[in-house]
């Protein structure tokens, strides 16, 4: 068991409001780590800090033991830290397979320079193979040549997941990947997550459906108002009354101390 991604004392504020508040976080290879929390808890912002999309105010981010604080998102992605977004970021003009191909190819410094001057890509074969494998794995082969613009949102989620997988990551950050999927698809999706974890990937995801979390998660982080308020196996954490109050308190609108 090894830690692929780790954050210590991570803080981020917008307009002097702390959105992520001294968060310690770690993702283990081969495990499914789920972050839960009410809307606005800062889950997406935490992802943005981990993946380099937003600069952080304080703290350290380690990837495979190296300090990667302040790295750009594309550099982190090439290092093996892949992510998806809460709002789809699929490229609508490209076909499904080209969407994946962008992630499978080398678009780092050397890759781009070689491409612009028209040199052949040495990794071309491998990229094509990776794309084909991932498409088959996600069941997207049938729509490989369809433009993403015409696909429904549930399918776009899968495409985005496939894109993340094409970079051959060791860590996957998935922001609400199951939203927009129906029951059957959600079930499929779970199987997939377990297969990925079995391949020693560290899977991290934000998820609202607690039943689903209970079934899949190895570790649950509960976030509220920017802080991690509980960490542990789902069985231990999700049943705790204070956690339930934080997760549902907003819905039933009851003060904390009266929560069940």
């Amino acid at each position: 068991m090894s830690t692929t991604l780790q954050a210590l004392g991570l803080s981020k504020s917008y307009n002097d409001v702390l959105i992520v508040d001294h968060v310690d976080f770690s993702a283990e290879a081969g495990r499914i780590t789920v972050i839960v929390g009410p809307n606005g808890a800062g889950k997406t912002t935490l992802f943005n800090c981990l993946s380099g999309v937003e600069p952080i105010d304080a703290g350290v981010v380690l990837h495979r033991g190296d300090d990667v604080t302040g790295w750009s998102p594309d550099a982190l992605s090439r290092r093996g830290l892949a992510r998806t977004f809460q709002r789809s970021s699929v490229f609508p003009t490209l076909t499904v397979s080209d969407n994946l191909r962008v992630a499978a190819e080398n678009h780092g410094r050397r890759g781009i320079l070689r491409g612009v001057v028209g040199m052949r890509d040495p990794g071309r074969r491998r990229a094509v193979r990776t794309v084909r494998t991932v498409l088959a794995e996600l069941g997207l082969s049938a729509i490989a040549d369809v433009r993403a613009a015409v696909l429904p949102s549930g399918t776009l989620r899968l495409v985005e997941l496939g894109r993340a997988l094409c970079g051959q990551p060791d860590t996957l950050l998935l922001d609400e990947p199951a939203s927009g999927l129906d029951d059957a698809e959600t079930e499929e999706f779970h199987q997939l997550l377990h297969r990925l974890a079995a391949r020693e990937l560290a899977v991290v995801m934000v998820e609202h459906d607690l039943e689903l979390v209970d079934e899949t998660a190895d570790v649950v982080y509960v976030m509220d108002a920017g802080r991690v308020v509980a960490v542990g196996p789902p069985g231990d954490v999700l049943g705790r009354s204070d956690v339930q109050a934080r997760l549902f308190g907003h819905l039933i609108d009851r003060p904390l101390d009266q929560a069940p």
């Binding site: 090439r78 490209l94 076909t95 962008v102 781009i112 996600l138 069941g139 433009r147 549930g154 985005e160």
Partner: protein
């Protein structure tokens, strides 16, 4: 030491600039459209006044009132109703609205050249008689300054009061949240119309007041008015007070500096900086300001919505049209062929816009600057007067020009990395204005320059063939950038930048390279353009040219390189066959219609053709919209999904949460 007299003179110009800026600001805040046409509206208003007073002999006061208080606001309302409301209704992207305002700009400019000609007139009627008011202490105060200041004070107070009224508050609601305000029963269209009316009126006032201090000339006056954009950038598109302050300050500093005289080369540079202080302010502000407070979402950035988005596979034989366009001049008579020399050169310039704005989605309005620099460098290299270089013989010049341009392109690409959408558009435009003012307009740089085709290609026929070779080379570069790996990455950046980053695309480097490639192409095109016309004409590389070229590229399909070739052919042909200004007018009118032809003129024709043929003779043309899918073994998840896709297609609804 400051002198009061100069400061007062500066306040006059400053308040006109502030006025123009306020108009721009009001329109932007009330409609979310950055009205690039405001400079052209100001110019048109000035010309209308000239026409009424000098030609129709109306009384000055009447003409001014009708022009500024009636015609300008009505024009604004018409713009809202017929150009921008349809765009608003279909939730057009900010880039589309920017192009529409560019269309208005181009139409007005083309119309003005067509009606009034491109020559300068010195007799713009002055609203304020020339009189000096003596102040205590022997200081003379021009009456015009008093009037200019009074106007800006009145307008400023009016706007400030207007914001406090109930209507003002509701207007703010519309601007912040259009849908919400509409739910509350506020007529967003009326508010937008108001914004356009006020904005056009203020532009008109500024134009009428500014014209007498300059010459009346379509391009020149428009450009000067555009330069006052500096004021709005300093105000970060938000604060009217800052806009006014910036306008007055730049005006005063300019007047004060005009007194200082230095000798020699640095003196000339200093004079140029002083005379164009608004350009300096615009450039500095754009480089210093961190962000503009743009309305609308953060996907405001790219031109993705202007492209065809891969909707139709390109038809077979499509290349024949541009190929024929290019081949035809080889059979022309000598005179027509001379005219046609501009086609391949212009095509290269337009293709450079396709590369940066169509493929990678970054709006660049500054290509005229690169093209002009290319022409300049070519002329100097051939003459042996390029600092640091000896005389470069013949065709080698055409190789050197793009290579020398790469670093300059990287230089502009640097600020462009962090800027998107409107911010980027303004920055690139400011670059070309600066190049025009500080390089092309400097006699020490451009006077006595001669350009001619390389010796071995002196005859028109040979030069045309050389141009075609250059175009072919350009297309090789373009192919690298559009097909394959880099092409995919560029489309990814255009469609969704954060998605591209997440895929590991080094977006910064990619953008830099694209800017450099585009600059090199534009420079090559500019050099050929100048060689073909055998003159370095600064007017050919005026910043307003860059705007017209951009509009033309959008019209002919922003992501279509063949479209750029056809566009160049059409532009040159129209210019040769019709009165001056008509080609610009046509481009402008097409740009205004873009709302109805997404993807550009050619793409729309293609779609129409496709549609018609399939209607008349189904089965003859394959349905290119849906490419055939491969038969494969499906996993259970795949089967479930395909089933769902079918069901959804049948039911016509998605399962969005």
């Amino acid at each position: 030491m400051l002198t009061l007299e100069l400061a007062l003179a500066g306040l006059g110009i400053g308040s006109i600039a502030a006025l123009a800026g306020l108009g721009l600001l009001v329109t932007y805040r009330l409609t979310g459209v950055f009205n690039l046409a405001f400079g052209a509206i100001a110019m048109a208003a000035a010309y209308l006044l000239w026409q009424a007073v000098r030609v129709w002999h109306w009384p000055l006061a009447l003409a001014a009132v009708v022009d500024v208080l009636v015609i300008c606001p009505i024009f604004g309302v018409l713009l809202e109703r017929f150009v921008f409301r349809p765009l608003q209704r279909r939730a057009a992207a900010p880039a589309e609205k920017l192009v529409a305002s560019l269309g208005v700009f181009v139409v007005l400019l083309g119309g003005a050249v067509l009606v009034w000609g491109a020559q300068a007139r010195l007799d713009a009627p002055s609203l304020v008689p020339y009189r000096q008011l003596p102040l205590p202490g022997g200081v003379q105060l021009p009456l015009s300054t008093v009037v200019d200041l009074a106007v800006i004070i009145v307008v400023g107070i009016g706007l400030a009061l207007g914001q406090r009224t109930r209507l003002g508050l509701r207007v703010r609601a519309v601007v912040e949240q259009r849908e919400l305000a509409e739910l509350q029963g506020l007529d967003a269209n009326r508010v937008a119309a108001l914004g356009w009316a006020i904005g056009s009126m203020l532009a008109g006032v500024a134009g009428v007041l500014m014209a007498p201090t300059l010459r009346l000339q379509p391009y020149g006056l428009t450009l000067v008015m555009l330069e006052t954009m500096a004021v709005v950038v300093v105000a970060q598109l938000t604060s009217p007070v800052r806009a006014i302050a910036a306008g007055l300050m730049v005006g005063v500093i300019q007047a004060e500096l005009a007194r200082v005289h230095l000798g020699g080369y640095s003196g000339a540079l200093f004079d140029a900086l002083t005379a164009n202080l608004f350009v300096v302010a615009l450039l500095v502000a754009l480089l210093i300001v961190r962000r503009l407070n743009e309305t609308g979402g953060d996907d405001a950035g790219t031109t993705a919505r202007l492209t065809t988005r891969g909707e139709l596979a390109s038809a077979r034989g499509w290349w024949l049209v541009p190929a024929l366009t290019l081949a035809a001049p080889l059979m022309f008579n000598a005179q027509d062929r001379r005219v046609a020399l501009a086609v391949p050169a212009l095509a290269i310039v337009l293709v450079s816009i396709v590369v940066v704005s169509g493929y990678s989605g970054q709006i660049s309005l500054g290509q005229a600057g690169f093209a002009g620099l290319g022409a300049l460098i070519a002329a100097r290299l051939a003459a042996g007067t390029m600092p640091g270089f000896g005389r470069i013989p013949g065709v080698a010049v055409l190789v050197m020009v793009p290579l020398l341009m790469v670093p300059i392109g990287l230089l502009l690409g640097w600020p462009a990395i962090r800027r998107r959408g409107l911010f980027l558009a303004l920055t690139t435009f400011a670059f070309s204005v600066a190049v025009s003012r500080f390089v092309f307009d400097q006699p020490s740089v451009t006077s006595g320059l001669t350009v001619h085709p390389p010796d071995a290609f002196g005859s028109d026929n040979n030069f045309y063939v050389l141009e075609l070779l250059c175009l072919a080379a350009a297309f090789l570069v373009v192919r690298n950038l559009h097909n394959g790996r880099v092409g995919r990455a560029l489309i990814a950046v255009r469609d969704d930048e954060s998605g591209a980053l997440a895929c590991g695309v080094d977006v910064r480097r990619l953008k830099l390279l694209v800017f450099a490639a585009s600059a090199a192409l534009a420079a090559l095109g500019g050099a050929l353009l100048a060689m073909g016309s055998r003159a370095f004409d600064t007017g050919a590389f005026d910043p307003t040219r860059g705007l017209i070229w951009f509009a033309a590229v959008v019209v002919f399909g922003i992501d279509s390189a063949p479209g750029a070739v056809i566009g160049a052919g059409v532009l040159v042909a129209l210019d040769a066959g019709l009165p001056q200004g008509s080609s610009i007018l046509v481009i402008g009118l097409c740009a205004l219609l873009l709302g109805r032809m997404p993807g550009g003129l050619l793409h729309s024709m293609h779609r129409l053709f496709d549609h018609t043929v399939r209607r008349i003779a189904p089965g003859i043309v394959p349905d290119v919209r849906q490419r055939p899918t491969r038969a494969v073994q499906l996993t259970p998840a795949g089967r479930a999904m395909v089933g769902q896709l079918r069901r959804r297609a049948a039911g016509g609804q998605g399962v969005t949460p």
